[in-house]
Symmetry: C2
Subunit: 194 residues, 2 copies
């Protein structure tokens, strides 16, 4: 029997993680977010901090970022290696039980492997900027700029490994504007579709 | 007081019109689809058949299509004229009462003019092909080809007059895959958000 998996892809600052956690709590199923990172760290020996960043975002233009993307003799980089481990970990979780998975390109699980409900959460730049200042606090970089950088890297990472366009409406079963509908309504809709 | 308007944009064959009509029925508010065409016909003197086609689809490459898109001395075509009348008619309806409007770029109503809930209905090519054969019957053109032609023209028309990208996830508050979720679930979600 295939397990029911809700995957939540989200624009940075849209509240997708909060929504995923609350949906999972209401449905009494696990929510994988940080937990995937722990599992991958155990398997790969890579640092959690690195996995958190590099399992979802394209390598930055920094020196370390460039090194991690360097290809070896066989054309593989550490980032490619991580993608493989992450993908296997997600498939392993999908075999174990029904759950919510936030981010990590989990919507790319083949539909033969799980009964998927693919969700995308987005919101306007203004609403997200407001939210990230509230949730993550102030930062040297203007919130709008932080958002755009994060989204750009998520988009690039997703496209690189899945060959699909991140945020393409056809890839999701439900897409919700959390800024207009509110977090509570989003949780309600997703839970009702489980 | 601003009226609550549900706009339903949809991929051809996704069942968006059926969903819009049923949402309106359940909420006991009017649904504008063919009714807008009647109003525009009365105002413009243009034939309903022409409005139906040209108020939502870019001019076809046929001879008549090209003539309708010909610009006069001031740079206006019949199609531009129709866009203006259609837009004014939609704003007029939005001033009158709460309602559902299917297609016709109604999601482009300025948010100062109405309390909008912008919905997009889509489905996979396979599901839509299956549906159009069932609803509209067989045709000389293969259903997949009919779909693509229709979507292409809707996309071009929308972009021409709104300067926005049709089917761009950020433009809608709720986007639903009617092929996966089913028509009934879509109706329920939209009604619950009214």
């Amino acid at each position: 029997m295939k397990h029911r998996i809700i995957t939540i892809s989200r624009e940075f600052g849209s509240g997708g993680r909060t929504i995923g956690k609350e949906v999972a709590r209401q449905l009494e199923i696990p929510c994988y977010d940080e937990e995937i990172i722990n599992r991958i760290a155990k398997k790969s020996g890579l640092a959690e901090e690195y996995i958190k960043e590099s399992g979802e975002y394209a390598a930055s233009a920094s020196k370390i970022g460039s090194l991690l993307a360097v290809k070896d003799f066989y054309g593989h980089s550490i980032q490619d290696e991580l993608w493989g481990i992450q993908r296997r970990t997600i498939l392993e979780i999908a075999r174990e039980h029904s759950c919510v998975i936030v981010g990590r390109c989990a919507d790319y699980i083949p539909k033969e492997k799980a009964d998927l409900l693919k969700v995308f959460i987005h919101a306007s730049i203004e609403k997200r900027a407001e939210r990230i200042v509230k949730v993550y606090g102030e930062n040297d970089v203007a919130p709008e700029k932080r958002l755009m950088q994060k989204d750009k890297k998520r988009r690039a990472y997703y496209q690189l490994y899945t060959d699909e366009k991140w945020g393409n409406i056809d890839n999701y079963h439900v897409s919700l504007d959390s800024g207009v509908l509110g977090i509570e309504k989003c949780i309600k809709i997703i839970s009702s579709l489980y």
